[in-house]
Structures are given as C-alpha cells and as structure tokens.
Amino acid sequence: MTAEHKDQVRGCKQTSDAQNSSSTIAAEAQRWQEQTRAPFVSENPERRESFETQALKWPINPLYSPADLEALGFDYMKDLGFPGEYPYTRGTKANGHRSNFWTMTQVTGFGKGEEWAKRARYMLDQGLSGLILEHDLATTNGYDSDDPIVEGEVGRAGMALDSLEDLEKAFDLPFDKLQYLMSVCNAPQPVNLAMIIAALEKKNVDPKDFVLHIVNGILIEYICVGRYIYPPEHGLRLATDCIEYIIRHHPNWAPISIISAQLQPAKANPVQEIAFSLAIACAYIDETLKRGFDIDTVAPYFHFVVNVDMDFFEGICKLRAFRKCWARLMKERYGATNPDAMKIRMMTSPTTIALTLQQPLNNIGRLAIMATACALGGAGDNMTTPLHDEAHSLPAEEAIRVGAALQHIVAHETGVAETIDPLAGSYYVETLTKQMEDAAFAEMDKIFDMGGAVKAIEKGYFQRALGREQYERNKDVEEGRRKWVGVNHLKLAEEKREIEIFRLNDAMEEEQIAKVRELRERRDQDAVNAALAKVKAAAINGDNMVVSCLEAVKVYATHGELCHAMREVFGEYHADSQLGGF
C-alpha cells in the first residue's frame, strides 16, 4: 500500500459511509483493480478477449461503481427523479405495478373471421384481456383475397379481411371480457379503421367501453417491413387523417403506435431504436400539429411498442432510457407542459429474433428471461409475449397457453413487480441508461439535420444503417463471437420435432375468394360506385379519408377496391433500394 493510498483510506474512515466522496471511491476502485483484480486475472485469464453488450457492442467494464456515475455527470434528481414524475426514468406510473399489473396480451390472426373469433375466444378464456388482430398480407398490402397477386397468402400470416362482413363475423366475441384490441393494418389504415368502426356499430358496442388501438405505423414499413402501398408523403397524410379522426371522434382510443419492435428485428440496436422511433414520432407529430392541435393534446396519443432482446441489461436500460428521451423530447423540442404529454405510452415484448428454430422448447426459457427483463424495465402499460414455436409455424394452442402462463409467472411468482423500478441505482444499469440517452439524442440530431424522418427514408439512411447491422450481427453468430444455444453452441447432431404444429385449413383460401365474389354479386353496386367516387374525390381534395371510407365500407365496398381507388390518386411506391445495406 502506498503512503498516498494510506492517507486516502484514513480519509475514508473519518467520514461516514454516506458521505464517501466519489473521488475516494474512484481511487479505491483503482486500488482494487491493481491490487486485487489484476493479480487474479493474470492467474485466471478472462474467458473472452473483450466483453461487450450484444447489440451496441459497447465495452462492458468488469465492475461499475459510483465513480462511473460521477464521470457521466449522473444526478439523481435530474436523471431519475421519482415514479410518475418527470423525467419518468423510474416509470410513468406513480405506484409502478403495485396497483395494477400491465395488461397481458398476445398476437393472434389467421383464417377467416369466424376462425379468428374462435381462437380469440380461446385466448380470452386463458386469462388474456387484450388481443392483437393481425391481418394477412393480402389485406396489409391493399388487395382483396381474389386478386391473383395474393394467391397462396389469403388468411395465412393473419386474418383475411375483404369486407365489413368479415369483421362482423370476427367480432362475435364477449366484449365484456375484451378490454383492448390492437389492429395492425398500416398502409390501408383509413379503410381498416372505417371497417372496425362500422363493425362495432353493427355489434352495438359502445366505442367508449373499450380501447381500439390502431398501429397506423406506415413510416416504419418504408424502413424495414415493406408493407407499403403509396409513396411516403401520401402514407404520412393517411396516417395523419386517422390520428385526426380518432382524436376528434373517439378520444379514448389509441390512433398511432411507433413499433420500435419492428426496427429491432431488423437489427436496430437500442440507440437506433430509440432515436429512429422518436424521430419518426416527430414526423407524425409535426403533421398532426398542422391540423390545428397543440402538443399537450397530441402527445398523449402516441404509443410505442418496444422489444427486449436477450442482453438483459441492454433491454432493461433501453426501456428506462426510452421513457426519459420521450419526456425530454416533448419538453425540450415541443415545449409540452402537460405531464401526460411527457409520459410515454409503451407496450413491451420479448423479441422473436432471440428465438431459435433449433430445440424450440429452449425458447420458453428465453421468453421467460426476456419477459422478466421487460418487467424489470417497467413493463409499460401492456406486455405481449411471442411464442416458442414461432420459427416453425403459426402458433399451436399449447404454445398460446404456455405464452399466457409465462406472463402470469413473471407477474405473480418472481416478485419483480412488488417494488417500483427495482434496478435503479445499480451502477451498471444507470451507466448504461445514461449512455444510451446521450447517444440517442446525438443520433436524433443527425436525423433532424437531414430534414427529419421522411427525408431520411427517401435518402435510404435508415435502410442502409439497418442493412449493415443485419450483416454484421449475423456474422457475430456465424463466427462464434456470440454464442447462441442450439445454433452455434450445444447443437444437437440430430433433432427430433418436439412440438405440436398448427396447420391451416387449405380450403380456406377458396372459401374466402368465393365469399368476396358472392358479396360483389348481391350488394348494391350503384351505391358502391358512388362511394368509391367520393373516396377518390376526398383523396384529391385533401379531405379526411376516414369519413369517405366509412360511408363506403357500410355499403360493402371491399378493402381492395378502396385501396385501388386511392392507388389511382396517389400512385404506388416502388423502393428500388429496399435492400439499403445491400
């Protein structure tokens, strides 16, 4: 021990523990490194050359202490504050999940309306109170089931939706149990919204009694999902029409979600997820403000869906940084004053890209760990869980039951929800949270300097950035830098199928096609023609498209016909550089 060091130790003893200055701790940490850790490591070399976070590849120190927080300028009141108060790092709810658990939801959607309703009733019986309705790719890309271009896709990746009749059948549900429905249909959003409103009217459901949540997330479709129809400027206009309609007519509903959980499987790292998502949110906000609303009214309508991957701490810190970045953005960029505007609405989910095709039962373990990370990160208002058999096929009933049980296990058996933000104050967690926040603001500034998210999409900025991440992170696995059980570690020479597989009814496509053709025969064609003409006129005149679509779906104009009417006005978008990183 050096003389100088002895002085420091004596200095320590003279103060109480609570008053230990960080500089003393920094010196102590340095001493520990030299005297205790270094000799040990020279005897026991570390098991890898470098330790880094999984997605960001930020170096991970062997140890974090108050000295790290001091170096970052961490300030408890400024950086964390208290739950339910600005900057909401410790959560948007004043009592965390001690009053209510998050809403537990699961994705469903396949087949015809009546088949979807049967599956939805099963899921509600398993204890779920919210559902997500996914539509098939024919629907999300704006075609009817009998369009030759969608052959083989009808009712496959989600529910087929051609006309109001399909939704009337799908909504044969106990609406007393169903509190929340999320519908995913981005490019044709005004048509989809109109159909849901009309179907609820037919079922005499009071729209005030439950929450419809439309995703309405067209901008991310241009970046990585690809289910776009019209050019980005028109896509943004249609999304804004839906936001405006819902704020004015159904103020208890949710008109927009930024699905960061779509950027993440496209390999956005946590900083990109936060920055891209918030820059995209700003594009919708700026457009909505032009419709005559103020930020304190508009901001509370924005929802986010955020995935958590297997790097436990990257996931937890991302959720905490996300809340704080939104709060700061609303306050600093838009001058929001309403606390509701600064509280992010968030749904969390374990990611599907951590799941493996190999040894699928291992995925139950992964899902449990990721769901626990979601809960430790604050869980958000809702949590949804993917299922362990996703890499094999559409989910089987057993997988749905296990997925639902998993959330209950995290909620009731682990104790992670019994105190608020239990990992706060962890030197590592707070370091990573703050680093993510700083990096996300730097990345956002870059996007704003380009002219915002729509300009960045047109320039292919996001697409290129993600393409690079996709290739590099795949190489990490193939070259063994990232160990992945079943994929490049503990592989089985020969694998037997371990799970039950859900199969679709093959006759379903023909039945759906026959149904929409039969509908076109018996409906009032003159009324449909008049309604479609009104839709086109509204598209040209800049009127809110939801209004004219609502009239049209009520006389049974089909989904594809309405999308085509808008194609004639807006044109179609072809992204030549879809593989931006290519």
């Binding site: 890309n141 052959e151 996709q470 072809h574 030549d576 593989l579 990183g581 290519f582």
Partner: protein, 161 residues
C-alpha cells in the same frame, strides 16, 4: 402488373479471383426474390451480402413478386440460380408454381433454392415440386455459399474464349 425491379451488383469482389482460379469463365449469377406479399427482408439482405462477398453476382427483384414475375426475370437475366425467401405461409402454393413456370419457360435447369420459415412437413412436397434445396431459418451463410460453390464447380457450362 408492375415490372420486376433490379438492383444489380456488377462489381466483382476480391474473391472473384478465387473463382477464376477454379477455371470458371464467369461468376455464378443468382436471382434473389421475395415471392408474394411477405416483406421480411432481413434474411435475404444477409444472404445477398454473403453471396456478394463470396464473389457471386447477385440480382434482387424487389418485394412483392408473383411466380410469373420471378420466372420471367430469371429467364430475362439468364441467371444460374433462383433463391426465394419466404416467411409467410404461402410457400406450399407459390414455390411449386414457380418451379412449374420455370420448367415451362425452358429454364428447369436453373437451381431453385428456398429459405425462410418452412416447416419440416412441407419439405417433401416442395422437393417433389422441383425445389432443389431448402435452407431454413438459422442456416449458416457459409454453408449456403459452400453449397453454391460446389454446385457451380460441378455444373458443366460452355467455355468462353
């Protein structure tokens, strides 16, 4: 119906030198396509990068292609291999149709590969219908590259002067 859109990489990479040494007159040409409405592009982006890095000439059709569009593009671009990525469940219809269209267009000799989410139970049906090889999710790009290189080496071709 919109035309197929191409993003052609014409710059041979360093490993093309390796191909020349293997006495091939040109690099393997592969058409990568997303068939149908499925628009998940992560897998195909990674494959495109890996094949290009291995010195192959990669052509991408863009999204939302029909079997007719892919078959026409394969013939027009005179590719050696057609690689389809599918993550929706429409593959049991669209892939057999593509294989049939390729045969009808006199292009049955082109290697037809499929990748993505394809349940084990569908493998036989697809192979019987003319899909030459299936690489499901989690396949190593180095295995795909090795498979294509071997196929290409063993394929007889008229030698150019």
């Amino acid at each position: 119906m919109p035309c197929a859109r191409y993003l052609v990489n014409t710059m041979p990479t360093a490993s093309w030198v390796g191909f020349k040494m293997l006495k091939k007159t040109r690099p393997l040409r592969i058409l990568l396509a997303k068939l149908g409405m499925d628009t998940h592009t992560v897998g195909i982006t990674v494959i495109a990068h890996a094949l290009r890095e291995a010195g192959m000439e990669v052509i991408f059709t863009g999204l939302k292609q029909t079997p007719d569009m892919v078959a026409a593009a394969a013939v027009q671009e005179d590719v050696d291999v057609v690689g389809i990525s599918t993550l929706s469940a429409g593959h049991t219809r669209s892939l057999p149709k593509l294989a049939r269209l390729l045969r009808e267009a006199g292009a049955g000799d082109k290697l037809l590969l499929a990748g993505g989410v394809i349940p084990e139970e569908d493998r036989q049906l697809l192979e019987d219908a003319g899909v030459d090889r299936i690489f499901t999710m989690g396949s190593d790009t180095r295995d795909i590259v090795a498979y294509l290189q071997e196929w290409w080496l063993n394929k007889s071709e008229p030698t150019e002067v």
